[in-house]
């Protein structure tokens, strides 16, 4: 069921940036709970089932979205690892479900020499869609070599700055 729900969530997400993905879980839970309440004539059973379905749906969607984000990070980190100083290369991510594909450029800013690992700081741009004049935005991040590949290395924000991230 979670696969169907995730697809539903992605379609909802693509239909407009203002549609919150979390609403899908709320609606799925509410509809399931309502049906269960009517079928059993017991609001507690309906409530329990509704909340349970909502919890499972939310977790499934979060997991799927995080996997997609990780795939994009791995793409950018791999390009950062392949860059020569001063070089600019392009990156792109094409998901299995062709929603939210992104592309852009990566520029190496500096090499972070440390006693622990080889890391790099880089600027990368993100543009959505295939139009050549698609709006793009630049971001700064870091990547470190882990074994034979490069991984995203920007750590989490300070807990005091999480705010509504959680």
């Amino acid at each position: 069921m979670s696969g169907t729900v995730v697809r539903l969530a992605l379609v909802a997400l693509a239909s407009g940036p203002l549609v919150a993905c979390g609403a899908v879980a709320d609606l799925t839970g509410a509809v399931t709970g309502g049906v269960a309440a009517v079928a059993t004539a017991n609001p507690i059973v309906g409530y329990g089932i509704g909340i349970g379905v909502r919890a499972v749906t939310t977790t499934a969607i979060n997991y799927a979205v995080r996997r997609r984000q990780q795939a994009a990070q791995d793409e950018v980190a791999a390009v950062i690892g392949a860059l020569e100083p001063g070089e600019t290369r392009s990156w792109k991510i094409e998901h299995d479900i062709p929603i939210g594909n992104e592309h852009g450029e990566v520029r190496l800013v500096r090499t972070v020499d440390s006693a622990l690992a080889t890391c790099r700081e880089a600027l990368f741009s993100v543009a959505s869609g295939g139009a050549p004049d698609a709006p793009r935005q630049w971001f700064l991040t870091t990547a470190c070599r882990q074994g034979d590949r490069w991984k995203w290395a920007a750590a989490e924000p300070a807990a005091e700055r999480w705010g509504s991230l959680q």
Binding site: C21, G22, P43, I44, Y47, G48, I51, G52, R54, A55, V56, T58, T59, N62, Y63, V65, R66, Q69, V112, D113, S114, A115, L116, A117, C119, E121, V126, Q137, F139, T142, C144, R145, Q146, K151, A153, A154, A155, E156, P157, A158, A159, E160, R161, W162, G163, S164, L165, Q166
Partner: protein
Amino acid sequence: MTHPLKKDPLDAGTRGTGRGRPAAALTLLMLLCATATLPGCGALLAESSSAAAGVAGASIADAIGAGATATTGIGLGVQAGARAGLQYAQRRVHGAAQSRIAGVAGALPVGGVARWETRHDLPIEADEQGEVTVVRLIGGEGLSCKEIVFSVEAAPETADGAPRRAFYTAAICRDGEVWRWASAEPATERWGSLQ
């Protein structure tokens, strides 16, 4: 240099999210989360705990004879409260881990390497350990900050005995005598599934 292992004062007083029958399942989930670094375990924990609390709240409301609307309202209210409580606990535990790494790195010179480790009383996040080093000093007059690289070692060791390590970068700044985590949140456009 090893940072002293001590019980985390921030973890104290955050116990007791959920009581009764749903709490047993929650405790099991917490233990699972603590023993295995499962992806998205924190999210699953937050959803499960608040759902369990909400169902428990609604059951009590129903048992004392509240109507269907009131029962649902009470259940949703308890659920929201439980979610906020667990998120607060997660933030405190994570903040304590950041303080631990920042404290170790704060005493290091550029290029110095030291070990860090966290031991949580509340098993909503796995205990972690690794090394930290200072890359460079940042800041200016009256502002002292450092760029750090730290490793997080996975518990199961690889075949050759060396722990699997992941590396991350962050910034810390000194606030009086205390070093604090200074990495800001991502741009809102890059939040993605964080929210």
